[in-house]
């Protein structure tokens, strides 16, 4: 990671599809603008490239983005949500201070990455992502 003294909250994006997780990561990082952006890792699909959730990919992604300021995990649905919950219950499979963030996947990811890139703490990143539920489209 950068030599910046400011530690940033890491963001993990868990989707049933590797392509979806990676694309949303790219979208969110792109929208966060220039300069230093918060670390974002995609954990999509199963370890063999199929649709589903891999606990190992989630765990690896979370440790990869952990700078010590906490990790926010956003998921799409079903097994992605259940896997993250089961990992959190396990105790040692995710970095300390990892939080499941209940937010819409795409909008929440953009809000989380933009907020984290601005140097906000984990609680603020979570609040920003959750707030995305209130942006109505009509």
């Amino acid at each position: 990671m950068s030599d910046s003294s400011k530690k940033m909250v890491g963001i993990v994006l868990v989707s049933h599809s590797a392509a979806v997780a990676e694309s949303v990561a790219e979208l969110a990082t792109g929208l966060a603008g220039g300069g230093v952006t918060a670390p974002v890792a995609a954990a999509g699909g199963t370890a063999d490239g199929g649709l589903g959730t891999s606990a190992e990919l989630v765990s690896q992604a979370a440790f990869a983005v952990d700078q010590g300021a906490g990790v926010a995990v956003l998921m799409d649905l079903g097994s992605a949500v259940l896997t993250v919950k089961a990992l959190l219950a396990e105790g040692d499979e995710l970095p300390e201070n990892t939080r499941l963030v209940d937010a819409p996947f795409v909008e929440g990811a953009v809000a989380a990455v933009v907020t984290a890139s601005a140097g906000a703490d984990l609680a603020a990143v979570e609040a920003a992502a959750k707030e995305a539920y209130t942006y109505r489209k009509e």
Partner: protein
């Protein structure tokens, strides 16, 4: 202690069965029994994988059989490799393995069931059937908390809850109750999981998760018979 009251109120035939059992002492279950249980479950999932996937085709994403097969094969392998030596350790290792290898929602759900049951058994070298029943009840409670399902939602809970209720009687009774619970999911409308998106169209199909749960409970009978 609570159970004594339950037995006292049971039908006469059951009371005498319980008396016989109590007078002989409840059979103790060791790590070997729990390894046999997991091996029997893996073999059963292997045999029934196609049926589980077929059940998952109309109301799910047609991967339950292969997901469960991958998970339980990994469980058998890790148990052989690490040879955990207490009942609690066997179930916790099996549960962790399911969470990391299944790839679908059944991974964290079955993983939580076994892991929580394993934690409830602590580090005792041998446990009674009553302790196993209590531990599985704790596991089923954890599954309901994780997935948010309650009985009647057309999920694995519909097989597991009656099974755990009958476990105080015998493994055979638990297995029969699980099977009955699985079959009884057919007319239900799914309220949890992917099948719930289908609404009324989920009616008329037996739930794959309840079906694999019945296999897991039936494997207890096999493990005890060996």
């Amino acid at each position: 202690m609570e159970r004594a009251g339950l037995y006292a109120g049971a039908a006469l035939g059951q009371v005498s069965e319980v008396n016989v059992r109590t007078s002989q002492g409840d059979p103790l279950l060791d790590a070997d029994f729990f390894r046999r249980w997991m091996t029997a479950a893996a073999a059963s999932v292997d045999r029934e994988a196609e049926r589980l996937t077929a059940l998952d085709s109309p109301i799910g994403d047609a991967d339950h059989g292969s997901n469960m097969q991958r998970g339980f094969r990994a469980v058998t392998a890790v148990l052989e490799r690490e040879a955990p030596d207490t009942p609690g350790a066997v179930l916790q290792l099996a549960g962790r393995q399911l969470i990391s290898t299944v790839g679908g929602a059944s991974g964290p759900l079955y993983g939580t069931l076994l892991r929580r049951a394993g934690k409830a058994l602590g580090d005792a070298a041998e446990v009674t059937e009553e302790q196993l029943a209590d531990a599985l009840r704790a596991g089923v409670d954890a599954v309901m908390a994780l997935g948010g399902a309650t009985p009647g939602d057309k999920t694995m809970v519909d097989a597991l809850v009656p099974a755990v209720d009958a476990l105080g009687t015998s493994f055979e009774a638990a297995s029969a109750a699980a099977e009955k619970g699985a079959v009884a999911t057919t007319p239900l409308q799914a309220r949890k999981g992917r099948a719930s998106y289908l609404g009324e169209r989920s009616i008329g199909h037996q739930d794959p998760g309840a079906t694999s749960s019945a296999l897991l409970i039936a494997a207890l009978v096999e493990a005890a018979g060996e």
